[in-house]
């Protein structure tokens, strides 16, 4: 058990170091910070002096260690475009993205599980068939198109909901939330649904497949033979057993929700990290790109690690394998 956890931890650490190395290479070979800071008409002596002050004349491994040490403390320097600390930019934007992703995950789970159960129980009937067709469309539609369509229908034609920005937010220190104001919630609805659609179809299809699988098993037949009500069989026995894979997939997908929010945030001009990142890509703002890359990787690696450990505690076969090694 200890070996297993240790191995996973080492693997996660290696991935993070690799990502940090990529970010570091970006700093090293893309753009020259010295000429950015001094301008065109600096003398070679001034350049050398600044280079020495910034530690850019040190050996490569030393510089990398320095970079990692700074990155661990959240220090990625100044944004080239906005001239502000990258860390403060990200802290400012992070709540918006997290809020959007969590609400989208809730919508995807809240609608995906019941729809999946429905599609499994009513298999072959018209409603379930229609649902499966719609889910195929949901998978083929790119996220940004879903956003555009929702804006066209609900913001332009019906004029029910606003189409950009976060609306009124309440601030708790550095943390801002739009969940507590009616205006903020109205602004949140369209982007959250847009972001949720893909995950929703995914969860729905997964729940349907798992339910169909479980309904064929012997213990369901036995439960029926015991004369339990349909309700107790479907929700007490069958659904419970489909939820383990659903929860792991949702956990893993939470990371990609945060990544996919780049697109949703662009469509709805949602002031989150994704918008920050896409602007950084457009303007080749390396410090912001590097910081976003490291943060997103950290989130992904943490989620993957957590899911691995969860599997380990849930699935006894993995534990046995761990002993054999």
């Amino acid at each position: 058990m200890f070996v297993f956890i240790l191995r996973r931890l080492v693997q996660a650490l290696i991935v993070m170091l690799a990502v940090a190395f990529i970010a570091f290479m970006l700093f090293q070979y893309v753009g020259d910070p010295v000429s950015n800071m001094l301008g065109q008409d600096a003398t070679p002596e001034q350049r050398a002096e600044l280079r020495r002050q910034l530690g850019l004349d040190a050996a490569f491994p030393v510089q990398f260690a320095h970079f990692v040490a700074n990155a661990v403390q959240g220090d990625f320097g100044l944004s080239l475009r906005q001239g502000r600390q990258v860390s403060s930019l990200i802290v400012e934007r992070f709540p918006a993205t997290l809020e959007l992703s969590l609400v989208a995950a809730l919508i995807a789970l809240g609608a995906g599980i019941p729809l999946g159960v429905y599609a499994a129980l009513r298999r072959g009937r018209f409603g379930a068939q229609l649902l499966m067709m719609l889910s195929l469309l949901g998978v083929s539609l790119p996220t940004f198109l879903i956003g555009i369509l929702l804006i066209l229908v609900f913001a332009v034609l019906l004029k029910w909901l606003p189409s950009f920005g976060r609306g009124d937010v309440v601030a708790f220190g550095p943390w801002t939330t739009g969940l507590l104001t009616a205006d903020g919630l109205r602004h949140l609805l369209l982007p959250a649904v847009t972001l949720a659609v893909f995950q929703l179809t995914l969860i729905m299809r997964l729940v349907r497949a798992e339910m169909l699988e479980v309904l064929r098993t012997d213990y369901i037949k036995f439960a029926r033979a015991r004369g339990l009500s349909d309700r107790a069989i479907y929700f007490g026995h069958a659904l419970k057993n489909t939820l383990v894979p659903v929860i792991t997939i949702t956990g893993l997908q939470l990371g990609s929700l945060i990544a996919f929010s780049i697109i949703t945030e662009t469509v709805f001009q949602w002031p989150g990290m994704g918008l920050l990142f896409i602007q950084a890509v457009q303007f080749a703002d390396i410090p912001v790109m590097a910081a976003y890359l490291c943060l997103i990787s950290l989130i992904f690696v943490t989620i993957n690690l957590a899911v691995d450990l969860l599997y380990f505690s849930v699935d006894p076969r993995l534990r046995a394998e761990g002993k054999a090694h």
Binding site: A155, G255, T266, V281, Q282, S297
Partner: protein, 303 residues
């Protein structure tokens, strides 16, 4: 060559194609889109890039059947008076070009590395598969965005051709993992078959065994994957172009057209953005359906 064709038309795949209306419809749509894109110069009613023929008077005309529309422009015009139908055809050409090119590149890369990993095994295999694991744990759009961003930062004033190459490279590098994993899996099986051992015994070099003997036998699933990946690549390209980091603005793809049209959504000019969107969905959906059909047709267990 002729023998190959008769064998194909007599074969199971052709039979399964003829008996599947969905596959036929999807193929017709895909071929029509491909035709319009390839021969846009001759098929398109106007040339959207001929600045001399553009008239500002004709800007933002709605489709022909809506009030105020002109029969000259079937699907309406955009803000510069360009015919949308023609812009669609030229845009689809660029989308398809980028899609096919990046699928080809990622296929070559993925199949090559997968073959190597499966055939050589050992440390090479372990290393390639670890890289795959890491790549797989990030969404491909994020990887494409990142590579594209790095390319932009490296060559800020890049030439158009270079911008295209960076884009194609970004999409390919985000998609090769699937091929590598599939091919590695089947190579591991094929490696121990008798014909491979026989080839080894008579002293055929490993590279030649991989190319001549193993490769043809692992290509079936790759074909299915490649079809599905064409749709994925076209959508990735459209997404990147929509985000403003895709193809250069001088050669607009469907994603660029959607991005431009998006600005006019609020003034009620829906047609500028909806037609390119519909075209994109049509292409993606028909290619996806074809891929699904191909997967079933090539799967012997389903016959």
């Amino acid at each position: 060559m002729a023998g190959m064709f008769t064998r194909f038309f007599d074969g199971d795949v052709w039979h399964s194609f003829r008996s599947s209306p969905v596959a036929i419809a999807a193929a017709l749509i895909a071929v029509a889109c491909l035709f319009c894109a390839c021969f846009a110069e001759w098929v398109a009613p106007h040339n959207p890039f001929d600045l001399a023929s553009l008239e500002l008077m004709d800007a933002r005309l709605p489709p022909a059947w809506v009030e105020g529309g002109s029969g000259k422009y079937l699907l309406g015009t955009d803000d510069q008076g360009r015919d949308i139908l023609s812009a669609l055809m030229y845009g689809a050409r660029i989308s398809l070009l980028v899609g096919f090119a990046s699928v080809l590149l990622s296929m070559v890369l993925g199949v090559g590395l997968g073959l190597l990993a499966g055939f050589v095994g050992g440390r090479v295999d372990a290393f390639i598969m670890r890289v795959c694991d890491v790549m797989l744990s990030f969404p491909s759009i994020l990887i494409a965005l990142l590579i594209d961003g790095v390319g932009r930062a490296l060559y800020p004033n890049a030439h158009d051709v270079l911008a295209f190459l960076v884009l194609i490279l970004a999409i390919s590098l985000s998609g090769w993992v699937q091929y590598a994993r599939t091919v590695r899996g089947s190579t591991l099986v094929e490696r121990n078959r008798e014909y491979v051992q026989a080839a080894r015994v008579i002293g055929v070099r490993p590279l030649r065994i991989m190319r001549r003997h193993v490769l043809p036998n692992v290509l079936g699933p790759v074909l299915v994957l490649a079809t599905l990946q064409v749709a994925a690549a076209i959508i990735t390209e459209a997404t990147l172009s929509f985000l403003g980091v895709g193809v250069p603005p001088t050669s607009p793809s469907l994603g660029t057209l959607i991005r431009v049209g998006n600005d006019f959504l609020f003034s009620g000019e829906w047609w500028i953005t909806i037609w390119p969107s519909a075209m994109l969905v049509l292409i993606a959906l028909s290619v996806n359906l074809l891929g699904d059909w191909l997967r079933d047709a090539l799967n012997p267990r389903l016959r």
